[in-house]
Symmetry: C2
Subunit: 369 residues, 2 copies
Amino acid sequence: MELYRRRLEKLQQAMLREGVDVYLAATQVNMQYLSGFSEPPLERLMFLLVSQGNDPVWFTPALSAESTATNPAGWQTRYVWHDSDGPSRALEACTRDYDLETATIAVDDEMPAAFLLRLQEALPAALFRAGGELMGSVRAVKDADELRCMREAARLTDDALASGLERCMEGYSEWAVAIAIQRALFDMGSKLAFGIPLVASGAMSAMPHHTTSQRALQKGDIIVIDFGGVYEGYCSDITRVACVGRASDEARAVYEIVYEAHMRARETAKPGVPAREVDRAARAVIEKAGYGDYFVHRTGHGIGLSIHEPPYLAQTYDGVLEVGHCFTIEPGIYLPGKFGVRIENVYTITERGCESLNAEPPMQIREIE
Amino acid sequence: MELYRRRLEKLQQAMLREGVDVYLAATQVNMQYLSGFSEPPLERLMFLLVSQGNDPVWFTPALSAESTATNPAGWQTRYVWHDSDGPSRALEACTRDYDLETATIAVDDEMPAAFLLRLQEALPAALFRAGGELMGSVRAVKDADELRCMREAARLTDDALASGLERCMEGYSEWAVAIAIQRALFDMGSKLAFGIPLVASGAMSAMPHHTTSQRALQKGDIIVIDFGGVYEGYCSDITRVACVGRASDEARAVYEIVYEAHMRARETAKPGVPAREVDRAARAVIEKAGYGDYFVHRTGHGIGLSIHEPPYLAQTYDGVLEVGHCFTIEPGIYLPGKFGVRIENVYTITERGCESLNAEPPMQIREIE
């Protein structure tokens, strides 16, 4: 399929630039990205081998050979090994065919160490390198098909959010809100991108990593809801703030600051802009309002097949934004013992700036009576 | 704490036997096992270093130093590195203190390849080995504290099952059964050990890896329910079979065969018995009844901090059962297009044989009217 061939070419170009002869993809997301095949890997040695001038080929245990044989990209299942033999013979054939003996070989950062040690034993003179940055830069720029999936994931997420917001009332618990969201995603054929939806109410909303509890919602509670849906493997991520009844003046004022920080960040995000400048833009608004000490995390993270991937909107990240990048913008203010506010959408960089994949964040706290 | 010191000694003895100087634990489960510290690792280089004759020490990014400092075992947070410097200087100090330069170093099988490559770069003359088998053999034998957790996880799982079984009636869907189980676990402060509960009804019950759907339960449906709860990180796993109304004679007969296979397997499981003989015992019953071709998986897997770990009750596994081993017994028969039956409990090996951690499996299909 053209789709996978274009991704292959992007990766091959990046390999050429970096002096990498062969890339071995062994994690579920990278195998899916390059081939459409998406199954959790077994403990048995398996990878998709990418080289210059050839189509990728599968190296796979017999147990998975039927599955890889039907990979949507059509890459050939060329090296199959059986439990009775172990992978040695297949590795020898692969080494011969691809001159692996003295090759520079990049592997997924998250490939299990046991796989890498097995490969190093078979190829003592090869040079192995961590391929995470290389693959990260390739995957960060989404193609049209990926953007279609990212948009759909965002739409499903927005729809599921509505089911959660309906329950931000007395008589429901944090858990009830979370389960309504999970159910809505499930009913649409989607699922959660990460854990149970975070639903943090009252003083708990000031904890960015609260665990959703059975706490009953009470009049006046600020509620932070954070979750994501998935479409064809692509993740989304959203955070919204609701209040059971009327919000306090302080909560409204803090929400306005976070909203302003969110908007300044997204105005800053354009092709060619360093990612850290977007973080700076959000942080400047919050610092100026006197809440700098209460914005305790980075402004956002890239998103795609993984919930966290490059680019990162953080002072410690060096990259520059490019057309096709997808990431969250999610500034927050957390006042311990009182409440917290975070507003998060997923954006993609276009020629003209940055476009939201989620519905616009509301200008005020959503008060639910 | 004594608990962690005893685990440390078990690991140190195994290292001595295998000629390993240093073990580096970098995965959440192994760090928890050795120290009680349980947080998902970051992308930053971090490990717990175990050597002979010393207490383990933490090598950690500054971001995690506060968390490791409070690890229940009390192991010292000795090497801390900051994003501004990178890990090189801390690695040099650690290399000096522990003579790592020419050491034989075992690492977690699932340590990210990027970590291992970073370590190899710093220690070109050290010998790195996959530590999975070594650590697997240590963790397979549960201590008293672990058995307490395994029992509690099984009890929570049994209790949550009851909430699912109640809904195996017309008017509910597979999803409703699954969500009732999830809810029950949550209400008890537990969570799911793996994915959404598998609830497979009607002809779908013949698919061992069915995905729980919105299918409405119908009169006469066989329903296979498979899930596990978690207690303090320790997993449980259970499978039960129900029927909406009266089961057919064929389903009852197949259930009896699987029940018999389950019972023969557990009678076979004793200290000193090769794990594969337990598989053989279950398989013999099913083969003799003429259903050998329809028992398409191994008889069981070890379980603990991981849902799948040694020992494996399979023809391809070489180990021998020891006191303290915990594993599932879960034979099944799957008749495509008709129905499937699987009966699963978690067991632990005692001096006298094998003891169920779950309630006894019922002798007949649970018919729910």
